[in-house]
């Protein structure tokens, strides 16, 4: 890599790829949600996430300095260049998994973006301030929905518990630490992700208790997404849909 600041570039890809991949997954619900209000809410949530992506990847592209744009980064990279956590790329499956995933992610984003607001890097701070307002709004809805469905009917409860059992082993990757995280922490750009784990634990355990859901008692955590080492087989399929227009008609514009 010839980028002058590879750690910052890597860090920004991680910030941008999470909302990009979740935003695309969420947008898959457009026209398919269980109720009109949910359809609108999911589409708007996806829009916020894609908007945040534009800011993060826009800055990443500038830092990279290779003449690529945020659109190039989103639409012309391959699976192993993506730096999102695996939890966000697995299929939606059903409304239960979609909302529980949104909640587990929002519960991370809120304390995380709160920390990034005081980043030593002004651009990182500005994007965090803007994104946090939206993350708080998403969190309010996803936490409410998790409680309503978990503590709902027998059927909704079962769907939520199944979703939790499936997603739980993916949640630990949010708090990974590697050389990039350490270098970024040393420069005061962001704390280690593990520093917000306690806040996440408290939020998640409180909400799950209110939702009468039980998290699996197993510390195993899948990893490989945020480092790009090993994505699931699902990301390639997702990108095939997400990127087809730019792949087939390079440079196409609306």
């Amino acid at each position: 890599m010839t980028t002058s600041d590879p750690y910052l570039f890597e860090f920004l890809l991680r910030q941008g790829d999470n909302p990009l991949v979740l935003g695309h997954r969420t947008s898959e619900w457009c026209g398919h949600a269980p109720a009109l209000e949910e359809d609108i809410a999911l589409a708007n949530t996806a829009l916020d996430l894609i908007g945040q992506t534009q800011l993060w990847l826009g800055y990443a592209a500038e830092v990279e300095g290779q003449g690529r744009s945020n659109n190039d980064l989103a639409y012309l990279r391959d699976v192993y260049d993506f730096r999102n956590v695996l939890m966000l790329e697995v299929p939606n499956e059903d409304f239960a998994r979609t909302m529980l995933r949104q909640f587990l992610f929002d519960a991370f984003q809120v304390p995380w973006l709160t920390e990034l607001q005081s980043s030593s890097d002004q651009r990182v701070s500005d994007i965090a301030v803007k994104s946090l307002k939206e993350a708080l709004y998403h969190f309010e809805r996803s936490a409410d929905t998790v409680v309503a469905l978990g503590d709902g009917t027998e059927v909704s409860h079962e769907h939520m518990q199944t979703a939790l059992n499936y997603l739980w082993p993916y949640s630990g990757e949010l708090f990974g630490t590697d050389d990039t995280d350490k270098a970024i922490e040393e420069r005061g750009i962001a704390p280690l992700p593990s520093s917000v784990r306690e806040a996440w634990n408290v939020t998640v355990s409180t909400t799950l208790a209110a939702a009468t859901l039980t998290a699996p008692d197993d510390p195993f955590a899948h990893s490989g997404g945020r480092t790009g080492k090993r994505h699931t087989e699902h990301l390639g399929h997702m990108l095939a849909t997400m990127q087809i227009l730019q792949r087939s008609h390079p440079g196409a514009q609306w």
Binding site: E37, E38, I40, A41, N44, T45, L47, D48, L49, I50, G51, Q52, Q54, L55, Q122, S125, D126, I127, V129, K130, S131, K133, E134, Y137, E140, R141
Partner: protein, 155 residues
């Protein structure tokens, strides 16, 4: 229009004529997305900020500003999009808020919920959904006249 007579106030007045593409009853100035106007010789600089980071109207707003000012004889325009300080509903003008209500959209409130039904003015209202037809609105319902209405989210 000659460079001598062009003033910052004049440019603001022109910008006040540009409707928000999603809620055309209020102008982009009422909405608070125009943050700054400066003049250097006959070069106009306009700074805008998005309401929500994914606001799909930003491109249209930029295009409207460009064509409006070009139509007024501005030859050199530089448009800058700035995200900090982040847009807040506090920047919406009082004129903007009353125009919204007259149009049937409840104005943003610091409390996070609408003060009253924009149709019959009843204060008995309930939330239908946190989200609405655009990223900036939520859906509410009046318990007196039973009409659903939109509420401009407060951020």
């Amino acid at each position: 229009m000659s460079a001598q007579t062009l003033t910052v106030e004049q440019v603001w007045e022109w910008l006040e004529q540009i409707p928000d593409p999603e809620i055309p009853v209020i102008s982009i100035v009422d909405l608070g997305v125009v943050r700054d106007v400066t003049l250097q010789d006959d070069k106009v600089k306009v700074v805008i900020t998005p309401t929500y980071s994914g606001c799909p109207a930003m491109r249209e707003i930029a295009e409207s500003i460009t064509s409006e000012l070009a139509g007024r004889g501005v030859r050199q325009l530089s448009l800058e999009t700035r995200i900090a300080p982040a847009w807040t509903t506090d920047w919406m003008s009082d004129t903007g808020k009353s125009k919204l209500e007259a149009y049937g959209i409840a104005a943003p409130q610091a409390k996070g919920e609408p003060k009253r039904c924009p149709q019959c003015k009843s204060t008995a209202v309930e939330k239908i959904s946190q989200f609405g037809s655009t990223p900036c609105k939520a859906q509410w319902r009046c318990l007196d006249c039973l009409e659903p209405f939109e509420y401009f989210k407060c951020i």
